[in-house]
Amino acid sequence: MQTVTMKPRKEIKISVEGENISADIFSGKTEKEIQALVAWMGNQKTTIGELFMVKVEGSGPAADTKIILEGDFSRVKRIGEGMTAGLILINGNVDMHLGAKMSGGKISVKGNVDSWAGREMKGGELIIEGNAAYYLGAGYRGESCGMRGGKITVMGNALDFVGEHMCGGEIMVKGNTGILPGMSNNGGKIVIGGNTSRPGSEMSKGTIIVNGKVDEMMPVFKLEGDEVVDGVTYKKYTGDVIGNGKGLLYVK
C-alpha cells in the first residue's frame, strides 16, 4: 500500500496541469521522484514539488496507491487523467477534466468539480459530493464518443451538456442538471434526481431517467405509455425520432 498526500504550497491562481497526479504515475515512486514530475502552470514548466508539498508513505502498485489531495485544488486540471487503477481522494474543489480518459480506479471529491469531469472516461468510478459544471462525462470537440464506461455520481447539481455523446457507462446526478443532458446519447445511462430541460436530444441509444421536472421536452420523443422502473412509475418515451433513435427517456 502506498499513500501519497499532496497539498498546495500556496494559492494557485493560474491553472496547473495536473495530468501527472495519478495513481499509475505515482505508484512505486519516492517523494523525490514525485516532486520531480512536471507540472505546467500557464506557460511555465515547473514541478509538482515546487507547487505542492508531497508526503509518501509505503510503496505499491497503482491498484494499491492512494492519493490524498488536501487544501485547494480548484485550479488544478486533469487530475487522474488516464488513470487505470488506484484511488484519489480530494478534500476540496478541483478544476476541469478530472479523471478524463480514466479506465479504472476511483476518484472521490468532497467539493465541486469544474467542467469536463470524466471526459471520455472508459471505466472506473468518479464520485463528486458537491456540484459538477458543464460537460460532465462528455467528449472532446468533434469526437463521436464521450464517456464509454465507468460510473459518475454527483450528489449535487450539474450544468449543461451532461453526458454529451455518451457511448456507455452511467452518470447519476442527484440534483438538477442544466439543459440538454444526454445530448447525442449513444448508449449510456443517465439518471437525474432533480429537474432538467431538453433531455435526450439526438439520442440514438441508451437511457435517461428524470425523477424531477422536465422544464422543456424535446419535440422528438414518442410517448409509449407508463412503465415501472425500480418500483417507480414513469412516462416512457422513445427517440430521438429524427434518426429513428432507440433511446429511452423516462420522466416521472
Binding site: Y140, R141, G142, E143
Partner: protein, 570 residues
C-alpha cells in the same frame, strides 16, 4: 555550396542505375558531374540513395483541406508536437497543419508534392497555404471539369476559346495542370443532382461528361501543357463503376499526346475499379483496369491506396460526398463554388473487418501489382482520402513483400478471398520499381522529368537516403525494416540543402511553387474574355479585377512556359 554524397547504393531507374555505388555531386542546388575538393561530404555508407520523392496527387492545401481541419479538431489533437528552435508546432494526422505537411513529407524523403484540386475562385487560399508549407516544392492542379465557361465553349465547339480559357484559368489560379473531377457532376450538384455516366447531358449546358473529358484533353495537348488531363472519373465510389472508368479511359484514344507522356492520368483508381451492383455483391475489378492499362500506354493512373484507420475524404466530387455522409452517418461539409465546382469533406474510419473496406484495401495493391509498368501506376493514398501520406512506407513494404501481404490478409475480412485477386498475387516489387512509383513515375506523369525524379546531371538536388543496404536486405522477409526505413529518411536533401538528418528536421527552407504560363493567340484570348467579362458582370459574386491570384501569393514561383498554338487563319 557544394555537396558530395559518397558510397551510396543508388537506385535511379531513369539513368539505369540499379544499386551501384555511385557518387553524387551537388552544386548550387543542382546535380552536377563533379564538385571541388571543398565540397561537404556525406558518407552514405552503402545506404539506399534515391531522388527525392514526388507526389503527383495529394490534398495538402486549400479550402477543403482547411474545412477538414475546422470540422475535425479530434484529428488535429492527434499528432501534436510542440515547437522547437527550428520547427513550428505540428498537429493532426489526416489533416495536418501546414508545417506538419512539409516536415512529414520531408521526413519520408519526399521533396515535391502536388495539391490535386483547386477551384480558380479559391486558388488564392490554396496558395496562402502552399506558401506556408515548408521545405517541399509544390504546385496545384486547377479544376475545369464543371466550369461554366468550359461547358459553354464545348457546347459552342470552340476549342480555341476553351484553350484560351484553360490558359487563362491556369494563370488566374497559378495552377499547374488541368484537373477534371466528376465532369459535369459538379454543375448538377448545384441543384443536388449528379450525372450517372459519361453520356448524360448536363442540364442548362447541353454537354456530356464525355465531351468535357475529350475537349479538355484536346486543349491540354493544344497547349502542350507539361501534365496531361488529370481525371477523377464519374461514378467514383459506386459499385460497378469500373465500366465508367474503362469507358472514360477509352476516350484517351481520341487525342494524341503532344509530349512524351500519357494523354490522360486517371487518379485514385482504387475508388474507380469497383465491380458488383451494390454493397452486397461489391467486388474488385482492378484486374480489368490493370489489363486495360497494360494494353494502352497513353494512360497512367495512381493507386489512391487505402490505409486502415482514420481518414478524411475530401474531393471536388460534391454529390459523392453527400452520399458518403448519408451512408456513414458522418458529419458532412460541402462547398459549392459558383460557376466552377463543388467539394465535400467527410471523415471516415476504415475497418479491417468491414468487408467493403477490406476489398477496397486489396484493390489498391492489385492495381499496383497487376499493372506491369510501374510508370503507369503511381503510389498515392489520395491523401487523406485513402489515408494519410505518412503511411507510404507501409504501402511500399506491402508492395515489396508478399509475406507481409499474406500476414495482413489474415487480419482483414475474409471477403478478400472471394472478391479480390490479391491473395493469389506473388509479385514483389524491387527498389527500382518503387523508385519509379514514387519518383520517376510521378515526375514523368507531371512532365517534370527533366529536373525531378532522377539523379542525373542537371536534375534538382532533391535526394533521399534511407537506412537500407539494398545488397544485404531481403525486403520480402525484412519488410519491417523496409517500412521503418522509408518512414524516416536518414537524409533528405532539398535543393542541395540537408533538411532532414536521421529523421529529424534540420532546416526549413521554403520550396518553390510550380505553375504553368500557357500562351494562346491574342485573338483567341480576347474572344474568350468577352464571355468571361459577361460571366463576371452577371453571375460571379466578385469582380473580375479581384479574381486572379496576385504575385504576392506566389513568392517562390517556378514558371513553366507552355502554349505553342500556331495562329490559325480563318
Amino acid at each position: 555550396m557544394e555537396l558530395l554524397i559518397k558510397n551510396g547504393a543508388v537506385i535511379d531507374p531513369v539513368n539505369g542505375i540499379k544499386g551501384d555505388k555511385t557518387d553524387i555531386s551537388i552544386k548550387d542546388g543542382k546535380i552536377v558531374s563533379s564538385v571541388s575538393s571543398k565540397a561537404t561530404v556525406i558518407d552514405a555508407g552503402g545506404r539506399l540513395v534515391m531522388a527525392g520523392g514526388v507526389d503527383a496527387h495529394s490534398h495538402i492545401a486549400g479550402a477543403k483541406v482547411n474545412v477538414g481541419r475546422m470540422m475535425r479538431p479530434e484529428d488535429s489533437r492527434s499528432g501534436i508536437s510542440p515547437r522547437t528552435k527550428i520547427t513550428r508546432p505540428c498537429t493532426g494526422y489526416t489533416v495536418p497543419n501546414v508545417y506538419a505537411m512539409g516536415y512529414r513529407y520531408a521526413q519520408m524523403g519526399y521533396t515535391t508534392v502536388f495539391e490535386a484540386a483547386q477551384a480558380i475562385m479559391k486558388a488564392r487560399h490554396t496558395h496562402e497555404e502552399l506558401e506556408e508549407i515548408p521545405i517541399i516544392d509544390k504546385g496545384a492542379l486547377t479544376l475545369f471539369g464543371s466550369n461554366w465557361p468550359t461547358m459553354d465553349f464545348i457546347r459552342e465547339k470552340n476549342m480555341d476559346k476553351l484553350a484560351a480559357y484553360v490558359a487563362w484559368g491556369l494563370l488566374a489560379s497559378r495552377g499547374f495542370g488541368v484537373k477534371c473531377v466528376n465532369p459535369g457532376g459538379g454543375e448538377m450538384w448545384g441543384f443536388g443532382k449528379n450525372v450517372t455516366g459519361i453520356d448524360d447531358v448536363v442540364p442548362g449546358f447541353d454537354v456530356t461528361p464525355k465531351e468535357i473529358i475529350v475537349s479538355l484533353m484536346k486543349v491540354n495537348e493544344m497547349l502542350e501543357l507539361p501534365h496531361s488531363v488529370h481525371l477523377h472519373c464519374n461514378n467514383l465510389g459506386n459499385p460497378g463503376n469500373y465500366k465508367t472508368t474503362l469507358a472514360s479511359m477509352e476516350l484517351a484514344n481520341q487525342v494524341k499526346a503532344s509530349k512524351d507522356r500519357q494523354v490522360m492520368h486517371v487518379t485514385h483508381l482504387l475508388f474507380n475499379s469497383w465491380g458488383g451492383t451494390n454493397w452486397g455483391d461489391f467486388e474488385s475489378k482492378a484486374d480489368e483496369i490493370a489489363n486495360y492499362l497494360n494494353n494502352h500506354d497513353n494512360i497512367t493512373g495512381d493507386m489512391g491506396q487505402m490505409i486502415f484507420g482514420s481518414a478524411t475524404t475530401m474531393t471536388a466530387d460534391g454529390p459523392k460526398q453527400y452520399a458518403n455522409a448519408k451512408l456513414l452517418h458522418a458529419k458532412w461539409s460541402n462547398g459549392d463554388v459558383e460557376l466552377e465546382d463543388a467539394s465535400g469533406v467527410v471523415p471516415i474510419y476504415y475497418v479491417k473487418q468491414i468487408s467493403v473496406h477490406a476489398i477496397m484495401w486489396a484493390i489498391g495493391f492489385e492495381l499496383a501489382l497487376l499493372t506491369k509498368d510501374p510508370y503507369q501506376m503511381l503510389l498515392t493514398t489520395d491523401h487523406p482520402n485513402g489515408g494519410p501520406f505518412v503511411n507510404y512506407s507501409e504501402v511500399i513494404a506491402l508492395l515489396m513483400s508478399n509475406k507481409k501481404r499474406q500476414e495482413e490478409i489474415k487480419t482483414v475480412h475474409e471477403a478478400v478471398h472471394a472478391k479480390n485477386k490479391l491473395p493469389g498475387l506473388d509479385r514483389e516489387l524491387d527498389f527500382s520499381e518503387i523508385a519509379i512509383m514514387t519518383r520517376a513515375g510521378p515526375a514523368k506523369v507531371l512532365g517534370l522529368l527533366d529536373t525531378k525524379g532522377h539523379l542525373g546531371v542537371g536534375a534538382d538536388a532533391d535526394i533521399s537516403i534511407y537506412d537500407i543496404k539494398p545488397e544485404q536486405i531481403d525486403p520480402s522477409v525484412e519488410h519491417a525494416k523496409i517500412k521503418s526505413a522509408f518512414s524516416s529518411a536518414t537524409y533528405t536533401i532539398k535543393g542541395g540543402q540537408v533538411v532532414v538528418k536521421d529523421g529529424q528536421i534540420t532546416a526549413t527552407p521554403l520550396g518553390r511553387t510550380y505553375w504553368v504560363d500557357a500562351k494562346v493567340p491574342q485573338l483567341h484570348h480576347d474572344e474568350m474574355m468577352k464571355d468571361i467579362v459577361k460571366k463576371f458582370k452577371n453571375y460571379y459574386s466578385i469582380q473580375l479585377a479581384n479574381y486572379m491570384v496576385q504575385d504576392e501569393y506566389v513568392t517562390h514561383p517556378q514558371v513553366i512556359k507552355a502554349g505553342a498554338i500556331p495562329v490559325e487563319v480563318n
